[in-house]
């Protein structure tokens, strides 16, 4: 039996046993034939306090990294054994899967110690900024949010240049397998690649199937239809349930993310080809008018929430829909953590009201699309103390096999490689439950057809995290006389910062 078939079979067996579809005797017999017997049994029995997460742990013991790949790691790492490499990263599902489960395989094979520091996103930026400014080289690898790509582009190695060193190049790494829109949207700045795409949170539509059926709705196909449905649900079920929700905390990056989705969805853009702010043009104001009326269908307090509160409002049954990060979907399916397990369906974001602006019509590489992406890349720092060891780990961590394991073990997070979506081990998790992958086809379609990417300019981190969301927050606090006044203020502040 081929290795991949064996893994697929193992995943199916454990899944069936966890769901109670096969007896313990049959489970043991089947796993014994695969050489997994006691380990898999122990894992299958070990349903921890988080229920189906235990199921994932079962898979963790049945699905291990590819032996051939680990053999390559062992061989190529010999000169670097004993070195320590460090990475500061946000607590994302891929980073957690690597840190908690997978890195031990790499460490055992390579003799290289991997220290992964898990931090909130803004602290990752602070640590990285200090590391760059001091040229200290504390971190060998940088986790780079797409909004920082321009800022760090000169401080990391371009992976294509690193690939030229044949001695350290992983066989079959296949750079072309990374989804092209993600390479463009996350990792490319000018002619350089700022690492390789590492994770891809992206906006998709998530809605309560039961509520939609009760109301006689189907998944919205246009933004206007989405609003009409949200209003109808709020009118019929409020204040117990609301038709929409948001991540609209004043001054927080999440507010900027919501804004861009509505802006792009109305044919607008943040910048024009001359690099001037255009969120205050006719399309920008249309988007704000839409957002304002949709806001009326959301729960009270939404202006105090980031994505955390937004996700909780759906998880606790307060909101019926959410156009937001697809990473939340597997969490919603977790019966131990939410009230909506099995009730949420994924759909592509509603179509924009006007034709999207082209990249040529926008500035700084901005790519309009309702499916706002918040992906990140992984790159080796130019100040790294152990750049070769870091490069080996980076290749292994972003390889097809490891990314498949990350998706399977990391709670159904979206892969950045094309091939991983069709991997049997990923498809095996296409069922209701924690760590489901049943939303991933929507994620892949959104990446291919409707992905929006923020502009790449060195000042973008400041604009996206402060200038724009602070003023949008003031707008929703009714501190401006009109929408036009608010957007003109943002335009003035943004243009001043961009022009330096």
């Amino acid at each position: 039996m081929r290795s991949s078939d064996k893994k697929f079979h193992a995943a199916n067996i454990v899944d069936k046993y966890v769901k109670g579809k096969i007896s313990r005797r049959n489970f043991l017999r089947s796993t014994g034939q695969l050489g997994l017997a006691l380990g898999a049994f122990g894992a299958g029995m070990n349903m921890g306090p988080r229920g189906l997460i235990g199921g994932n742990r079962a898979l963790a013991q049945g699905l291990e990294p590819d032996a051939e790949m680990l053999a390559w790691v062992k061989e190529v790492s010999k000169p670097f054994a004993g070195q320590t490499i460090r990475l500061a990263t946000e607590a994302t599902p891929p980073s957690n899967a690597l840190n908690n489960t997978l890195k031990k395989y790499f460490e055992e094979a390579s003799g290289i110690k991997v220290e992964i520091e898990i931090l909130p996103l803004e602290q990752v930026l602070q640590k990285m900024t200090l590391d760059i400014a001091s040229q200290l080289g504390t971190y060998d690898l940088y986790y780079i949010d797409q909004s920082w790509a321009a800022f760090v582009s000169e401080d990391v190695h371009d992976p294509r240049e690193q690939m030229e060193n044949a001695d350290l190049a992983m066989p079959g790494y296949d750079m072309d397998d990374f989804l092209e829109p993600l390479v463009d949207g996350i990792a490319r700045y000018g002619d350089r690649l700022v690492g390789v795409p590492y994770d891809i949170p992206i906006f998709i539509m998530m809605y309560r199937k039961d509520i939609y059926e009760e109301m006689g709705f189907t998944a919205p196909t246009t933004l206007e239809e989405y609003y009409e449905q949200a209003k109808a649900i709020t009118d019929a079920k409020g204040p117990e349930m609301y038709g929409a929700t948001g991540q609209m905390k004043s001054g927080h990056y999440s507010l900027e993310c919501d804004w861009t989705a509505w802006l792009w969805g109305h044919g607008g853009s943040i910048f024009n080809a001359d690099g001037k702010f255009t969120g205050n043009d006719e399309r920008g104001l249309e988007a704000m008018a839409y957002w304002r009326k949709l806001y009326e269908t959301m729960p009270p307090g939404v202006t105090g929430w980031t994505w955390d509160g937004q996700g909780q409002s759906v998880a606790q049954g307060v909101a019926a829909t959410m156009m937001s990060w697809g990473e939340f979907f597997p969490y919603f399916d977790d019966p131990d953590a939410t009230k909506v397990s099995g009730l949420i369906e994924a759909a592509p974001c509603p179509a924009p009201t006007r034709a999207l602006r082209t990249v040529e019509e926008t500035g700084f590489g901005e790519i309009p699309g309702v499916g706002h992406q918040g992906g990140s890349s992984l790159a080796v720092s130019k100040n790294a103390k152990n750049p070769d060891a870091a490069w080996i780990f980076m290749q292994w961590a972003t390889s097809k096999d490891t990314q498949t394991l990350i998706t399977t073990l990391g709670g159904g997070t979206g892969p950045t490689r094309f091939s991983v979506y069709d991997d049997p081990r990923v498809i095996a998790n296409n069922r209701v439950g924690a760590g489901t992958t049943r939303h991933l086809q929507v994620v892949r379609d959104t990446i291919a057809n409707d992905m929006g990417s923020e502009p790449d300019l060195p000042q973008w981190a400041e604009l996206a995290n402060d200038t724009i969301p602070v003023r949008l927050g003031r707008y929703f606090a009714d501190e401006y006389g009109s929408t036009k006044e608010a957007m003109d203020d943002i335009a003035q502040a943004t243009d001043a910062i961009v022009q330096g």
């Binding site: 957690n96 994505w307 073990l409 709670g411 760590g435």
Partner: protein, 291 residues
Amino acid sequence: MMVQSKAARLRRAIIAWVTVALFVFPLYYWITVAFKNGRDIFNQPPKVFNFSPTVANFQEVFGVSFGLPRNEVLAGGGDFFMAPHLWSSVVIAVFSTILAVAIATLASYALSRIYFRGRHHFVNWVLSTRMMPPVAIAIPMFFIYKDLSLLDTYLGMILIHALMNLPLAVLMLKSFFDDIPTEIDESALIDGASRWKIFRRIIFPMAKGGVAATAVLCFVFSWTEFLFALTLTQTSLKTVPVVSSTFVTSVGTAWGNMAALGTAAMVPAFIFILLVQKQLVRGLTLGSLKQ
């Protein structure tokens, strides 16, 4: 003596209990979050009393140290094993408190008893160091620490927390020493005691309560300090406030785990305060009556 009516006593008791409840309830609620599962934490209406308690959050945060199985993958969570960080916080808080109080005791005694030119300005200068926002010196300190190889070390964190607490400790202790009559020093001097002997054998024992109160404040400030602990540490050393922020993940905040760590983190501070409680009460009342 004024005798209160039964109604007045009842009213006072109600106000007292309501005031206590206002302070205790958030603490109670936070502790209950540590014992709730994810669904109960966000239940609407909130489950204040009627929830099924679970120790799962504590298992995930401290599981390994109790020999319990460690969850390998948490929904959106990071490396949640926090016991070593709790120990790091204890080491840093205890030693920075000892250092700050030791230096401040001597400095404040000198400022209280020894007359020298510009003493008043010196006290103002000490106070002025507390006026600078910590964030203004965090980045310069990072570069200084980098050159001195103090980044990510216990010594570095103990020094910065001691430095941070010194001005407050000096000013607090000075006020305690000021409240001890100088006639006592003068009598001892006449009897032939040296300054050091007076300090060690007479004044310090009288100011023990004030020293305890100062130590408690220094300990609590070090225990809860975030900015320097974040900026001046890297991968090997973390304190509780810094690691608490790692529960904020890309797919939500692990409130149960955060509450479990927060609840556990109250214990060392509570023990420290219990140890100095007797002296603390004396310290807080020291100087309340003027001669």
